[in-house]
Structure formats: structure tokens, C-alpha cells
């Protein structure tokens, strides 16, 4: 999956890719103080292309510990779990599940919005592909607004950027590919070479997406994210991230 981090203060978009193996679960947000976890489980493409197996988010899990609620969104179903009970909607339904002031709202074949007490929301988009496509599979995208009120202890591949790091980008120069200039980015005490590029935001146009300019951090976001991406692998869909 690719990540786009919009930095409000510096008005820059930073992007990176994380490639891992199908089945692995990446922690996206882990906020032990507010008791919220968001994890994404990877699925693989149907086959390798250029000796590489692309991975995507096939399942996203939300755990609202204080409410005892779990939401599992797969490319098939949207399930709200409360203890031993569960209620599910399929992507063919338009509807809402409401429990303990948590609203899970499904737009048929399009998106799920999870709203908690009106102060926190998440959006998951469904990307359907042609079912007979030789390589591609259905996958999910997740959008987390920066206005969400996570605690300062929030972490995770996305959660760590809720407290925005200082970013300085300079020395913009032509890259190997003339259409992709390079620059130097200083962040978290590291000096990184980043490449200018485009990524897609699918919230408004689910088919073609909207181009977003971003600075791409190589090597699975090394230097931009805290530690190594493998530090964000968690054992279960609702696991909090453990401190390394």
C-alpha cells in the first residue's frame, strides 16, 4: 500500500510505500490513551508482476476499546462486533449500524464512514476491480482526517503524524527521471533524498482519483517514519502497537 501524509503546518504531502507479505497486519493508528486502534491486513495480487507481488489492504480493523466495539471492514463485509454479538452489512447495502454512539455508515459499493461521538471519523473506500482481472484484486483505502482528536500518545504508521514533525525540504534538483525532481528533506533528525511524484486521492473520484503532489520517501518510508516498517507489524487485527 502507499501512504500519503498531508502535513498541515508545512503544507506538504509526503508519501511512501510499505511492501510486506500477504496476511501481515500493519498498525496504522494506536492510541492507548483514547483506546483506539486501526490496523490493516494485507492481501496480495493474484500473481507476481516483474518478480514482485503487490500488496493491498484487504481488511481494516478498528477497535474502540472504551466502548468495547470492534469494526472489521473487508472487501466483502462490514461487521460491527460488540462482545460476542455481531451485526454485518455487505458492500451491496446502503445503510448504517449505530451502537453506543458509534455510527458505521455504508454507501453501497463505495465507502464506509465511521463516526465516533462526532469528534472522530474514518473513511474506508472500496476499490473494486474486474473480478476476472489476471492480477488485480479488490482492495481498501483508508482516510483519516487530521482533525481527529487523538491523544499525544497516538502512534502507528499514520498515527505518529497526528503530532506533526518539523519538515524542511530544500535543494530541489533534477532527478534521474527529468519529470521527477529530487530534493533533500530534513525530518526527525534525518536527511533524506526524496523524489517528487504524484499519488491518487480517491475520495472524490473513486475511479480515476485526484492527483496529489507529494514528496516520495524511499525504502518504505525509512527516516520519515519512526523506526523500521516492520516495527509496525502487529499479531491481530485489533492489537495495540507495543513500544519497541
Amino acid at each position: 500500500p502507499h501512504f500519503i501524509i498531508h502535513l498541515l503546518k508545512s503544507q506538504e504531502n509526503i508519501c511512501f510505500n510499505i511492501d510486506s507479505e500477504p496476511g501481515k497486519i500493519l498498525n496504522l493508528v494506536s492510541d492507548p490513551d483514547s483506546g483506539i486502534v486501526v490496523n490493516g491486513q494485507l492481501i496480495g495480487a493474484k500473481k507476481h508482476e516483474n518478480k514482485k507481488l503487490s500488496t493491498y489492504f484487504g481488511k481494516i480493523g478498528f477497535y474502540f476499546k472504551n466502548k468495547g466495539l470492534k469494526v472489521e471492514i473487508s472487501t466483502e463485509m462490514i461487521t460491527l462486533k460488540d462482545g460476542s454479538y455481531s451485526t454485518a452489512l455487505s458492500w451491496s447495502d446502503t445503510g448504517s449500524i449505530i451502537r453506543k454512539r458509534l455510527l458505521v455508515s455504508v454507501k453501497k459499493d463505495r465507502s464506509v464512514t465511521i463516526t465516533m461521538d462526532t469528534e472522530m471519523s474514518f473513511m474506508v473506500l472500496l476499490h473494486r476491480v474486474w473480478k476476472n482481472h489476471p492480477v488485480n484484486v479488490d482492495f481498501l483505502g483508508i482516510y483519516i482526517p487530521p482533525t481527529n482528536r487523538f491523544s499525544p500518545s497516538a502512534h502507528g504508521l499514520i498515527g505518529q503524524f497526528m503530532s506533526e514533525p518539523e519538515v524542511h525540504i530544500y535543494n530541489e534538483r533534477p532527478g534521474q527521471d527529468p519529470e521527477k525532481p529530487e530534493a533533500t528533506m530534513e525530518v526527525k533528525g534525518h536527511k533524506l533524498t526524496v523524489t517528487s511524484g504524484l499519488q491518487k486521492d480517491y475520495r472524490t473520484d473513486q475511479v480515476f482519483g485526484t492527483n496529489v503532489h507529494c514528496w516520495f520517501v524511499h525504502n518504505s518510508g525509512k527516516g520519515f517514519i519512526d523506526g523500521h516498517y516492520k516495527d509496525y507489524l502487529v499479531p491481530h487485527l485489533y492489537s495495540f502497537l507495543k513500544n519497541p
Binding site: 463485509m77 461487521t79 460491527l80 462486533k81 460488540d82 462482545g83 460476542s84 454479538y85 455481531s86 451485526t87 454485518a88 452489512l89 455487505s90 458492500w91 451491496s92 447495502d93 446502503t94 445503510g95 448504517s96 449500524i97 449505530i98 451502537r99
Partner: protein
């Protein structure tokens, strides 16, 4: 159609020289609406006149809409009239030596349509009946049952079932219900949205044995299927100005239930009925989930309880309850009133003490085989007592074993209190019938289900609010839609599931089905209208049953009558007049009225040896009561003597 020359040929006449040339059943199931035609061509090959009987079983909820009879080229056609008008016309020109009628059957949920006529030797007759019914989903499938009893070998025997389901067919299954004798004869062709089932045994295949002249075709031909529903909670189909909304979500955990089993252990339950009840209860208790609460009330002239309050369905409690039931020895009278009030009290107590999960479903399951004999005997008073005491959110389900019980009373009791009733035969099958019924209500998935449609776009919507939705079933709502001014129809369904409030929206294009149906030659373009009409009439019949005042009852009767005439169907307020082209010979087919005690003994497959081969007694000018064991005559006599002067039985 008339008798064809091609029918002549191989003789399959019995000793009485009556032969069946063909026996055909043709059905089309279009989006849960089944249209069935049964046609039989018979000849009296004897030199003397003989009685020919066309006797077919029809599902109880089905609506007959046409019957024709062709006697040597003379066709009798049918029309639907208001009952008294039909009777008046019938009185003016009774057919000689011919009769037709709908009579109560001794089979579960069935009625018989029977036409009899005295046919001179060498004469050919063709009977053809058409009826329609709405398929109800039970335990995860639609089950279409065709009772096949041609009575003798038929040169051409054919069952032809076409299924058209725009939602897509998940599976089509034809169990070997007619026995191993016919294994491999049925062919099933299944496409994505259509299927075709064909059963055409040759004369040789029909024979009970290679040298037998009797037919092995005697039983139910069953077609089971379900539509795709794993991807969608509901389906909104709109066509020809009507909408049908099917709702059957299944990705939900069951709601916990609070269940009181109220079991009749009076003397009449002694023997097989009790043995079968104990067997069923053991399974039912074993199937209770850990979050369910339950208790058992058993009653004869006294009322006893296994526990005075509701207890959690732990393994230990379930075992204990099973032992308790096992040790019951039926004897004494029947005090239904007291038993039900005790069950209601236990549920109320549990609720008052805050023991019940707010999302749980409360229900009472009453099992009885007879009328009250102790305590309150007046059925209306028992009904009133129950209605007054039972909390609004408790459903009462009734199981009536055998035919000594006033099933209509149990039915009213159940319907009045958000439940349903089922008649059970008191035989070897009792246990499985009880379990099957229980399984239908044992998995409540949703409660307080409401269907909302935009005002102004729809009208004449059928019942749109339901207390419970049970797993494996389906809720169907229909109505008229202003297709000229509306492009899309939106619905919003609200419901409570085990852990959440659900809001489901569905948007359907009013022309969404047009393309599919245009390409489908077997599709009935009026299926939405008919489905709506049948749902509405059934609903009105149920409302009428519970109407508190005579005035309201009369209004409902008028509505039912009008709809029956508009849609050309036989209901309890109409009759079918069957007449020859000259209109100087007429037959009358009424539907049987519910009556206090049923027609039939408590076992299946009563031999019809005593069947009167002459004109049914009710069709004669002055009916006379016959022996009650004469299975077809009880209701026939009662129908005429009780109701002949009243239009709506108010």
C-alpha cells in the same frame, strides 16, 4: 384445450375401465409467485355410466382463479362471484350429475379441490385447475410442494416447473420425495436467474412393479430453492406500477431469547403424542443458546412449573429440564387459561426484576392437543385474559396437535399476540414437525423492523412493521408506486439487531426489471400486482379475524370481496361458478369455512374408503349430517347449514 387424438393409444385403464390419458402439472414461479395448472384427461371406457373424480390437493394459502372442465367437447368455464350471488345463480341451473367443491383436506396445510361427474360410457373428460400462491421462505429455502395423486397410471404424466428469480438462483434442489422408485427421472436445468424442473415418468416407470397395474406416483413432488442473498440484505423489485420488497438479511447474530414452553400434559396427550413431544423438547432444549433464558410450564387440570422463574440456558439447566419433561405422565383435564397466565407472570416477573436483556426477544410456545376442560372454558374469555395480561413485546406461538383441538382458537390467540400457529399431526412425525416449527422461530435476528417509503410516491402498502425477523425467513412488503412520476423508489428499513440499531436504505429504478422481463417469455407481467393483491387479501383476512367490532369486520369483508372480484380469485367470501356455454348447467365451488373442530382424525393418510362417489352432499338441495368420521363430509355439511344465508359470517 381439448382432448387430442394423439392421446389415444396405449391403454392404461384400470379394472373399472377408467383411464387417464394425461396428468400434467405446469408451474411457473416468478419472483416467489407461483402459478400452477393441473390438468387431467380421463376417459370412461366402460359401457355404463361411471363417476369420474378430479381430486387435487391445493395449499391452504393458495388462491384458485380458474377451473375448466371439458366433457366430450362441451367446455364448462368458471367465473368468480360474490358468494350469495353465486349460490343464487347456482340454484337456478344446477348441473345434473356434476359437482365441484373445495373441501377441507386431511393433509397438513392443504385443501382439496374436487370435481365429480357422472360420465356415460365412452365419454372423455378434461379437467383443468389454475391456482396461485405466494412462496414463503422457511428455514432458508422456498419449498414448492405439488401433491401428485393421479390415482392410476397415466399415459402422459408430466410435472413441469419453471423458476424465474431476478435476484438470481442460489440453488435448486428436488429431493427424492416420491421415493427411490423415481430416482434419476427428474431433470433440473439451472441458469443464473432461471431454472427448469421436469418430471416425466413413462407408464412403465409409473408402475409399482413391472407387472402391476397400480401407480407408484402417490406423494408430494417437492422443489426447493433459494435466491442469492449473501450480498444484499434486501431486494426492491418494481414493475408495472407495483413494488415488492423482499428482506432477508442473514449476517446477523441471533438475539437472545426468553422462552416459556407451555406444554399440555392432559390425559389426551398420553401415548404417542407425549412420547413425540418429549423427544422434540429434548432437542429443542438442547438447541437453546447460552444467552437464552427459559422455563417450562406443564399443565393439565393443574399448572406446574419446572422453575418458578426464568433461568439461563446453561448445560446443566437444560439437562435438568429434559429430565423433568421425560418424567411427565399425562393425565387429567386441560386448563389452558391458567397455564398461559402463569407463563405470562413468569416473563413479567423476570422483566420487572431487570433480568431480561433489553435486546432480547420474549416468547411463549404453547403446545396443546385439546380444548380447555378445566378452569376458564370460554375461548373468547381466554383470549381476552391473555391479551389483557401479555406484555406488548411478548410473542405467543401455538402448536395444535391433532384435530381435537380448536386450531382456529390457537391461531387467533397467536396472531393476536404477535405470533403464529401451526397444526401438528399426532403421529410418528409429531416430533419432527414440532422441531421444524421451533426452528423457524428459534433464531430471532432482528426486532422492531420497519419499512419506510416516501409519502406521495407509494400507496396501498401492505404491512410494513414487524415485531421480529427470524433467520431463514423473509419479510415481504408490497405496494403501489406512482411509476409515471417517480424514477426511483427509495426505502429505509430500521431495525434492532443483537448489538446495534440498523438503518438500511435501498434505491431501485422503477424500470429496473423491464429489460429482464421483456426477454423472459414465461414471466407473468402482472406478477407484482398479483403478489400485492395476495398479500393484501391475506392481511385483510387476518385483520378481519381480529376485528373487535362487527362494523369493522363488515368493512374489511367488503374490501376482501372487492379485491377477490377484481383479481378473479376464490376467497372465503366468493365462490366459483362453473357453467356450460348455454348456462343451463352450473356447479358451485366454495372454499371451506374454518370450523370449531377439524375434519380429520389426528393421523395422516386416512383411507378414503368411505368417500361418497356421488354428488357431494353440500351440493344437494337439502344437506343432511353424516357420520363425523366421514372425512370429507364434516365441513361440507357445516358450510351449507351454517353459512348459507350470511355473506361474511359476521
Amino acid at each position: 384445450s381439448t382432448l387430442n387424438d394423439e392421446d389415444s393409444g396405449e391403454l392404461v385403464a384400470g379394472d373399472d375401465k377408467i383411464s387417464i390419458y394425461s396428468y400434467k402439472v405446469q408451474s411457473t414461479i416468478m419472483s416467489r409467485l407461483v402459478d400452477t395448472m393441473i390438468q387431467s384427461k380421463v376417459e370412461n371406457k366402460a359401457k355404463h355410466a361411471q363417476n369420474l373424480v378430479f381430486d387435487v390437493q391445493i395449499p391452504k394459502g393458495a388462491f384458485i382463479h380458474n377451473f375448466t372442465m371439458n366433457i366430450n367437447g362441451i367446455t364448462f368455464t368458471s367465473s368468480i362471484r360474490e358468494k350469495s350471488a353465486a349460490r343464487q345463480q347456482y340454484a337456478q341451473a344446477r348441473a345434473k350429475g356434476k359437482a365441484a367443491g373445495i373441501v377441507r383436506s386431511n393433509a397438513l396445510d392443504m385443501e382439496n379441490f374436487k370435481a365429480e361427474l357422472n360420465v356415460p360410457g365412452g365419454m372423455k373428460v378434461q379437467f383443468e385447475i389454475h391456482y396461485q400462491e405466494v412462496m414463503r421462505r422457511k428455514l432458508g429455502s422456498y419449498e414448492y410442494v405439488i401433491p401428485l395423486q393421479p390415482g392410476r397410471l397415466a399415459k402422459h404424466l408430466e410435472v413441469d416447473v419453471r423458476i424465474i428469480e431476478p435476484q438470481g438462483l442460489r440453488y435448486v434442489h428436488v429431493p427424492n420425495s416420491l421415493g427411490d422408485h423415481f430416482a434419476g427421472i427428474t431433470t433440473i436445468t439451472k441458469g443464473e436467474k432461471k431454472a427448469h424442473v421436469s418430471f416425466k415418468p413413462t407408464v412403465a416407470q409409473q408402475r409399482k412393479c413391472p407387472t402391476c397395474s397400480t401407480t407408484a406416483v402417490d406423494g408430494n413432488f417437492v422443489v426447493m430453492y433459494d435466491v442469492h442473498r449473501e450480498t444484499k440484505a434486501g431486494e426492491l423489485e418494481i414493475f408495472n406500477g407495483y413494488f415488492i420488497h423482499y428482506f432477508a438479511p442473514d449476517n446477523l447474530d441471533p438475539l437472545p431469547k426468553n422462552i416459556l414452553f407451555v406444554i399440555d400434559v392432559s390425559g389426551s396427550m398420553w401415548g404417542l403424542k407425549m412420547k413425540q413431544t418429549v423427544e422434540a423438547m429434548k432437542t429443542i432444549l438442547g438447541d437453546l443458546r447460552s444467552d437464552d433464558h427459559f422455563s417450562v410450564v406443564d399443565f393439565n387440570h393443574n399448572v406446574r412449573t419446572w422453575r418458578d422463574d426464568l433461568v439461563a440456558a446453561t448445560a446443566r439447566q437444560k439437562e435438568d429440564a429434559k429430565k423433568y419433561i421425560q418424567e411427565i405422565h399425562p393425565n387429567g383435564g386441560t386448563n389452558i387459561n391458567e397455564a398461559l397466565l402463569r407463563a405470562i407472570f413468569i416473563l413479567k416477573e423476570a422483566s420487572n426484576m431487570g433480568m431480561l436483556d433489553p435486546n432480547s426477544v420474549s416468547m411463549i410456545i404453547l403446545v396443546s392437543d385439546g380444548d380447555p376442560t378445566v378452569g376458564e372454558l370460554k375461548l373468547t374469555k381466554i383470549q381476552k385474559n391473555v391479551k389483557q395480561n401479555i406484555p406488548e413485546d411478548v410473542s405467543l406461538f401455538s402448536l395444535g396437535i391433532g384435530f381435537d383441538v380448536d386450531y382456529d382458537f390457537l391461531d387467533r390467540l397467536a396472531h393476536e399476540n404477535h405470533g403464529m400457529a401451526q397444526r401438528i399431526f399426532g403421529n410418528q412425525e409429531t416430533s419432527s414437525q414440532m422441531k421444524k416449527f421451533y426452528n423457524q422461530v428459534s433464531t430471532p435476528l432482528l426486532k422492531k423492523v420497519e419499512f419506510n417509503y416516501p409519502q406521495g410516491s407509494v400507496s396501498d402498502v401492505t404491512q410494513n412493521s414487524f415485531d421480529n425477523y427470524f433467520g431463514g425467513s423473509e419479510i415481504v412488503v408490497a405496494g403501489k408506486v406512482d411509476a409515471n412520476n417517480v424514477q426511483h423508489l427509495q426505502s429505509i428499513i430500521t431495525a434492532t439487531s443483537s448489538n446495534a440499531e440498523l438503518v438500511l436504505e435501498t434505491l431501485a429504478d422503477v424500470e429496473g426489471l423491464d429489460d429482464f422481463l421483456k426477454k423472459e417469455p414465461h414471466a407473468d407481467p402482472k406478477f407484482t400486482e398479483k403478489l400485492w393483491a395476495y398479500l393484501t387479501i391475506n392481511q385483510l383476512l387476518a385483520e378481519r379475524n381480529l376485528a373487535p367490532t362487527a362494523a369493522l369486520k363488515r368493512n374489511i369483508t367488503r374490501s376482501i370481496l372487492q379485491m377477490s372480484l377484481d383479481h378473479h380469485i376464490v376467497t372465503p367470501f366468493t365462490a366459483m361458478l362453473i357453467e356450460n356455454p348455454e348456462r343451463n348447467e352450473r356447479m358451485l365451488a366454495d372454499s371451506p369455512q374454518d370450523q370449531k373442530t377439524g375434519c380429520c382424525p389426528g393421523t395422516l393418510g386416512v383411507a378414503s374408503n368411505g368417500l361418497d362417489k356421488s354428488i357431494p352432499s353440500w351440493a344437494k338441495p337439502t344437506p343432511t349430517a353424516k357420520h363425523p368420521s366421514d372425512v370429507f363430509k364434516g365441513p361440507i355439511v357445516s358450510t351449507v347449514s351454517t353459512h348459507i344465508t350470511s355473506v361474511d359470517n359476521d
